[in-house]
C-alpha cells in the first residue's frame, strides 16, 4: 500500500502534502475562510457540522490524486476514526432543546460522527465500503489493518482520516489517500507523518 497524498486542517490553516494551502491565522471564521479560498461551490457546506466541513475540505484536495483507472464508485473505501465522536454537535443539539426549548432537526442529523462519510459519499458518488472507528488516539496500526482488510475485499484505494472537532475548539483533520500496491506501509511511517503535521 502506498500513500498518494495527505492533508491536514487545524484552526491555523490547511496543508496539502505538508505545504500550507491556506493560512487562517487570525481568522475568526477559519473554516469559512478555507472554503472560500478553495474555489469550490457546494452550498451544502454551510449546513455541515465541523467534522463534515473539515473532511469535505480535505477530500476536495485529495480526490484530485485518485488515479483515473480507479473505479471510484465501487473500489474506493473510506476509513475514518476519532476520539471525541460527535460530541461537539451532541452538545449543540442538547442545548437546542434543554436551553432553547426546540430540538433542532438540522443539528440532530449530525449527532453521529460517521455522517461525515455519508457527506463525502454523496458529494463524490462513492458507493464502496465505509467505516468509522472510535479510538483513544490516532492509531496507525488500526488504519493499516483496516486498509489491508479493504484491499483484501475488492477495494483498490482508501481515503482515510482522523478527524476531531472538540468543544474546546482544538479541531484537527488528518486525511491520507492510500493506493493498493506491492509497497509496504509501516506503522512508524504513518505515525511520523501524522506527528509532522501535529507539530505545524
Amino acid at each position: 500500500m502506498r500513500i498518494l497524498a495527505h492533508s491536514y486542517i487545524q484552526p491555523n490553516g490547511i496543508w496539502l502534502n505538508q505545504t500550507c494551502v491556506k493560512s487562517t491565522v487570525g481568522e475568526e471564521n477559519w473554516l469559512k475562510a478555507i472554503y472560500q479560498n478553495s474555489g469550490v461551490e457546494y452550498p451544502k457546506f454551510y449546513k455541515m457540522d465541523d467534522l463534515s466541513k473539515m473532511s469535505f475540505l480535505s477530500s476536495e484536495l485529495l480526490r484530485k490524486f485518485i488515479p483515473a483507472e480507479i473505479d471510484q464508485e465501487n473500489e474506493l473505501a473510506l476509513i475514518f476514526a476519532n476520539h471525541s465522536t460527535s460530541q461537539l454537535t451532541d452538545t449543540k443539539f442538547h442545548d437546542s432543546y434543554a436551553v432553547q426549548g426546540n430540538p433542532s432537526p438540522s443539528l440532530f442529523v449530525y449527532t453521529l460522527p460517521n455522517i461525515l462519510t455519508g457527506e463525502l459519499c454523496i458529494r463524490n458518488k462513492w458507493y464502496g465500503e465505509n467505516c468509522f472507528y472510535i479510538s483513544e488516539q490516532f492509531d496507525a496500526a488500526l488504519f493499516i489493518d483496516q486498509i489491508q482488510f479493504a484491499f483484501n475485499h475488492g477495494n483498490s484505494c482508501c481515503l482515510c482520516g482522523w478527524v476531531e472537532a472538540k468543544t474546546d475548539g482544538s479541531h484537527e483533520c488528518f486525511l491520507f489517500l492510500v493506493l493498493l500496491s506491492e509497497e509496504k506501509l509501516d506503522i512508524n511511517t504513518l505515525n511520523n507523518l501524522y506527528k509532522t503535521y501535529k507539530n505545524e
Binding site: 469559512k32 454551510y46 449546513k47
Partner: protein, 85 residues
C-alpha cells in the same frame, strides 16, 4: 420590507445553525432548497416550520405548501407578511 428580509435571513441562519453564513450571503430571490441554492433539504423544511411557528405564530397545516412558501427569502417574507398573527 428589506429590513424585514434581513431580519428573516438572520433568523434562518440561527434556526438552521448556518453559523458560517452572513445575511448578506443569502440572495433574496435565490432558491433556498436544492443544489442551486443553499443546499437545504427536507430536514431544513422542518426548521422553517418551527421558525414560522415560534417567531410569527404561523402554523403550516399542509406540508405540501412548504415547497412554494420556502422557495426563497422573497416568497417566505411575502407569506409571513400576509399571514402573521
Amino acid at each position: 420590507m428589506s429590513d424585514f428580509k434581513e431580519t428573516l435571513k438572520a433568523q434562518i441562519i440561527e434556526q438552521l445553525n448556518l453559523e458560517d453564513l452572513q445575511p448578506s450571503d443569502i440572495q433574496d430571490d435565490a432558491p433556498l432548497f436544492g443544489e442551486d441554492g443553499l443546499g437545504l433539504d427536507s430536514i431544513d423544511a422542518l426548521e422553517f416550520i418551527v421558525l414560522l411557528d415560534s417567531n410569527y405564530n404561523i402554523k403550516i397545516a399542509d406540508p405540501n405548501q412548504g415547497r412554494d412558501i420556502f422557495y426563497s427569502v422573497n416568497t417566505l417574507a411575502d407569506y409571513i407578511s400576509k399571514n402573521k398573527q
